[in-house]
């Protein structure tokens, strides 16, 4: 299962958030699974169109997530969800 790690900044809003293994083969599925575990978290990561927010970054195995390239994610993927430095 992909290993998902979060910026500590998200713990302000989701105190129980910690790195975890989540069964998902795409970012879309990952977001859906996260929402089941942490109600409301999708709204912090993506906008109403499901697009990752401008100043939120997903990294897959240290590469910036690209919706066109990373159509699938491997079972061994290391996923980092980070507040982008561009957001100040």
């Amino acid at each position: 299962m992909p290993h998902v790690m979060f910026t500590s900044a998200l713990k302000t809003f989701f105190p129980n958030l910690k790195e975890e293994y989540i069964e998902a083969d795409s970012i879309k599925v990952l977001l859906s699974e996260l929402e089941k575990k942490h109600q409301g978290i999708q709204g912090y990561l993506v906008n109403e169109k499901g697009q990752i927010r401008e100043h939120v970054k997903f990294y897959i195995d240290d590469e910036p997530y690209d919706v066109k390239v990373h159509t699938e994610i491997s079972k061994s993927a290391q996923i980092h969800i980070i507040q982008a430095i561009s957001g100040g």
Binding site: Y44, N47, E48, K49, H55, V56
Partner: protein, 352 residues
């Protein structure tokens, strides 16, 4: 009387102590950029946070700030060309037994909730207004117009008045189904046609509490007043050239001829005239303007943003983009410093 100060780094609550000094009573949402604050008739506190990373969020407190609960934020429909960027205003309205909450946003739209934020409805007649292609962004480097002012009519719950920068004043008489621009008499010197039907920049609009048909407006291009709910506007800009450009405005609760503004030197020099921080006051519906600066600093490089001045009775308060906060208990004749160490002040609200 309490004072809520919305800053770029949190919401501060001040209370007046027995010795009349204003003391900091509480800080909420430390480090977070406050979009707006609203205390409704049920003494519920509504707060918008415009997170740079996580998007706009809405919170409500039913216990005067002891605890806050996040409610749903308004969302544009997935078919909409827009996504929510920020929340500029929250207002409440009684419609029969319904306690309606309105939210004005960037991109410019008006949402309402009749279930205290569980769900939101977009007023599509405004979002899809036929003049929309002529609207433009209203500052802060954004290309999106934003809705920052909402006024209601206590005599007609279907009548709403809004201010959008930059589109102008719009009104609905059917509860938000259809909207008409009401900018007659305003000038927009930044447009090729300064008397354009839409495209105006009403920085803020105030409504008289004793005569709701009386509106005042601090506009990008001057100061205006309306006697007819904003259908037409009269130019009351200071002929001496001082009270012209600014953002914030307050009008007296008991006299619709008294108003206060805090002008900048010009739109391209957004600091006080001669670097002397001053509130400008008219007691004769804009025929004359005088400066009130007793207790205010010189030199100063402050700008007062659109929601950063408020009035209740004789208490007049304002905060600045440099984090300074001043109050007068005699309608501006004498000013006292509450703090000079805040983050940029976005909004101030006096409430009980």
């Amino acid at each position: 009387m309490k004072l809520a100060v919305g800053t770029d780094k949190g919401l501060l609550i001040y209370k007046q102590a027995k010795n009349s000094e204003w003391v900091l009573a509480d800080i909420h949402f430390i480090g977070m950029p406050i979009g707006t604050f609203h205390a409704d008739k049920n003494q519920h506190w509504w707060v918008a946070i415009n997170h740079k990373h996580w998007g706009p969020k809405v919170y409500v407190s039913a216990n005067m700030g002891k605890t806050f609960t996040e409610v749903n934020s308004p969302k544009f429909h997935t078919d909409s060309p827009f996504t929510l960027k920020s929340i500029w205003t929250i207002k409440s309205q009684s419609i029969g037994p319904v306690h309606r909450i309105h939210i004005g946003t960037e991109p410019a739209a008006l949402f309402y909730s009749d279930d205290l934020g569980k769900s939101w409805n977009e007023m599509n007649g405004l979002s899809n207004h036929p003049s929309r292609s002529n609207w433009q962004g209203g500052g802060k480097g954004s290309n999106s117009p934003f809705l920052h002012t909402l006024l209601t009519n206590p005599e007609n719950e279907e009548h709403l008045i809004i201010g959008i920068s930059c589109a102008g004043v719009f009104q609905t008489y059917d509860g938000g189904m259809t909207w008409q621009p009401n900018n007659t008499g305003l000038k927009a010197f930044f447009l090729p046609n300064s008397e354009s039907v839409v495209g105006h920049d009403p920085h803020t609009i105030c409504q008289s509490k004793i005569n709701p048909n009386i509106l005042w407006q601090q506009n990008h291009c001057g100061i205006y007043r309306s006697n007819d709910h904003g259908k037409t506007w009269q130019d009351l800009t200071d002929q001496k050239g001082k009270a012209v450009y600014g953002f914030a405005m307050a009008i007296a609760e008991d006299n619709d001829s008294e108003a206060w503004v805090i002008p900048a030197q010009s739109d391209h020099l957004r600091i006080p005239h001669e670097q002397k921080l001053a509130v400008y006051y008219t007691k004769d519906a804009g025929q004359n303007w005088e400066s009130l600066e007793n207790g205010l600093p010189n030199p100063a490089f402050d700008l007062v943003l659109r929601d950063a001045m408020d009035i209740m009775g004789n208490a007049l308060v304002f905060g600045t983009n440099n984090g300074n906060l001043y109050i007068s208990m005699d309608k501006g004749q004498h000013w006292t410093t509450i703090s000079q160490n805040l983050s940029a002040v976005r909004s101030v609200t006096l409430f009980l």
